[in-house]
Symmetry: C2
Amino acid sequence: MAQADPRLHVVVEAALFTLVDDRLCVALHRMRRGLFKGAMALIGGHVHPDEDADTRAAITRILADKAGLHDVFLEQLETFSGKDHHPQRWSVSIAYYALTPLDRLSEGFGLEFVDVDRLPELAFDHQRIVQAALGRLRRKGAYSNLPAMLLPAEFTFPELKAVYEKVLGAPLNDSAFRRKITELKMVEPVPEARSPATAERKRPAQLYRLADRRLAEWDRTL
Amino acid sequence: MAQADPRLHVVVEAALFTLVDDRLCVALHRMRRGLFKGAMALIGGHVHPDEDADTRAAITRILADKAGLHDVFLEQLETFSGKDHHPQRWSVSIAYYALTPLDRLSEGFGLEFVDVDRLPELAFDHQRIVQAALGRLRRKGAYSNLPAMLLPAEFTFPELKAVYEKVLGAPLNDSAFRRKITELKMVEPVPEARSPATAERKRPAQLYRLADRRLAEWDRTL
DNA sequence: TTAATAGTGTCTTTTAGACACTATGAC
DNA sequence: GTCATAGTGTCTAAAAGACACTATTAA
């Protein structure tokens, strides 16, 4: 049986997004060594063939190890490939994107959450990967419940609308939005008519949760 | 610098679709050796790091070598990975899908074009790849000019409608379809009001070509 | 002239947007 | 009570579907 080509390096990487104070942010860490020492980079690592069933399992393991995350929304984005910046080396990077509410993240993993509108130079081709992930998020967000993956399990209608506006980058009509979400049965009210633990909110609102925590897509835009 | 893991095999594969007598078909070849000897498989091969700039270049080279195709519509689909059927081996398969009109294909490459509704058992996980490619084609076909990539450069409106119906799997309303295509400026008439070299056609029709040969997407369904 | 498909016009239904209005709770 | 935001109702505009109708050409 043929040996694998030793010049081909296989890595998995994830653009992990969350909302910090209404800003869409991506998780980055600072490289401590190598060609890109000092630059910021996406979360990533190598596949462990005897431990990981597939690349999805590999990036799941890495997200747990490097960000402390479990059961996060995760979807394959695209595979980037070609000569990387190391001489004589050619790599295949299977990129994923992940969405999580801020309240599921914990400190101590050395990650920075950087506003996607204020990204510094990134290591490798991570700039490209982040842009591709943002494009996917914005496009798919228009006809799915994807933006809701950035919210905690329970949320109000105004919060849902705000996250859609953030992701889509455009204001939405309030009553049309409610109508659409309702018709699509995207959410269901939390039974005991809970109102939120208000902060600067002027008035409590009904809490909802996703009717189905999984990704749902529709054939029309919201 | 770390060596690449010798258990990881990297391959590129393509589900190449075309229309044969109004049936959507995928290009398959029969395996002549190996674990799946005798089974049918997608077009694919290995990456040549010193020859291929990236995996897209690799599959482009392979499509030229194994199907005689150049400048075909090609898009990355998804990467499939995990233990393949060989003991001790774990592979990463970067899958693409390609669309071509039949008239650009030539004989002599040992390919069979098999109706996607009558697929035999396939080698490896190629069944899964074909299904994923079909799903992509059908979904994306609903809001893009993707189905037109299956037609020759010049085509009539009825032909365009037929290929959309084939891809989407549902009949379309004639006047609404024309209206939509026209509004979107998807096509432009071929200047000298050419009518087609009729075969069993009862009446000639205006020829059109894509306004832009590249993939175009819209934010609403057709 | 007839058969058959190409292509148009128009009415109806559905969907989306605008926006005024009512409701509720903090203060 | 007032203010601010939550949430509803209703009118209008735009898009999609249905379908009858006209146009053109081969035979």
